[in-house]
Amino acid sequence: MTTPPRRRLVPAYLATHGRTAAAGTRPLDRLSVLHAAADLPAGLGGEHRQLWELVRPGALTLAEAAAHLRLPVSATVFIAADLAERGALSVRAPIPSAQPVNRDLAERLLSGLRALK
């Protein structure tokens, strides 16, 4: 007998203050790297504070942050975008130079994997 995963007490649409799209922000995805950049702006609490506190000691990807906060990825995207817009969160792309995967990257990944053996 297994127990179902614990339900969140606040539905996603409340966690995002009812918004369904974040305006004027760079695209965020599961591997966007989040790190607290400044103090939490006054007036932000709840999930915003939780996310900001989570990534204050160090950087995490958005997917990891969502898992730790037990929030859906879609809700976490909105909260992170909100914090980034107010300067409280730094966000960087998974591949810093935003280049597509090229042979050099794939070769370095391959030698990194071989070094595990």
Binding site: T3, A63, P72, V101, L109, L113
Partner: protein
């Protein structure tokens, strides 16, 4: 919902997000993503857990019964939404130059929209198959081919799996001769690393040669 058991078991085993977060190394690593897919119960979660340096995490992804992911909550119909747990883990490589994320994702056709969303930006995919029910892997292979990702197939040997030659598996799956086919035990690290090496080599082989500067 046939994915619930694996995620619930993971939670019961203490593989949930209860522990302190494992922060990324301060080396500004390049992050890369590989998909691990295949039919229900084939060993995706085990594979991710074997390789991950952090306790496996999972996110809940909401889908409607019609198969569309619910991103626009203003259209959420409520009653027909189902939740799919996506397990993932990570692996730091090359002294912190790279962090590789492994996403264990459902391989059934009805998850196509979720699959496409998850696979965006992925380097490639590993399809786990169980030789006792090879046909169950067709959906996952179709999803990957539609997403245009390079992939490698790995037979997950279970203790009670009858022996079957890889050539026979290749024929049964109608694999392209260039698609790597490997064999592993999802609980054993070495074979899992070998599968990632085979996949990454295949990804590399398909990338265009860069012209000399």
């Amino acid at each position: 919902m046939d994915f619930a058991p694996s995620s619930s078991n993971a939670a019961l085993l203490g593989d949930g997000p209860a522990g302190a977060p494992a922060y990324l190394p301060p080396t500004d690593p390049i992050l890369m993503k590989l998909m691990v897919t295949g039919p229900f119960g084939v060993g995706k979660t085990t594979f991710v857990r074997t390789l991950s340096e952090i306790p496996t995490l999972h996110t809940e992804e909401t889908m409607t019964a019609a198969g569309a992911p619910v991103d626009d909550v203003s259209r959420t119909p409520g009653k027909t939404a189902t939740t799919v747990a996506v397990d993932f883990g990570r692996l730091t490589l090359a002294d912190g130059d790279f962090v590789l994320y492994l996403f264990g994702t459902p391989g059934q056709r009805r998850f196509l929209p979720l699959w496409e969303d998850l696979a965006r930006g992925a380097l490639g995919a590993l399809v786990l198959v169980d030789t006792r029910r090879l046909a169950d892997a067709f959906d996952a292979m179709d999803l990957i081919e539609e997403a245009g990702l390079p992939y490698t197939v790995a037979v997950n040997r279970f203790p009670d799996t009858p022996p079957i030659a890889l050539d026979a598996v290749r024929a049964a799956l109608d694999l392209d001769p260039a698609t790597p086919l490997v064999e592993l035990d999802a609980r054993v690290r070495e074979g899992c690393v070998d599968a990632l090496i085979a996949l990454t080599q295949h990804v590399l082989d398909r990338l265009p040669q860069e012209s000399a500067p």
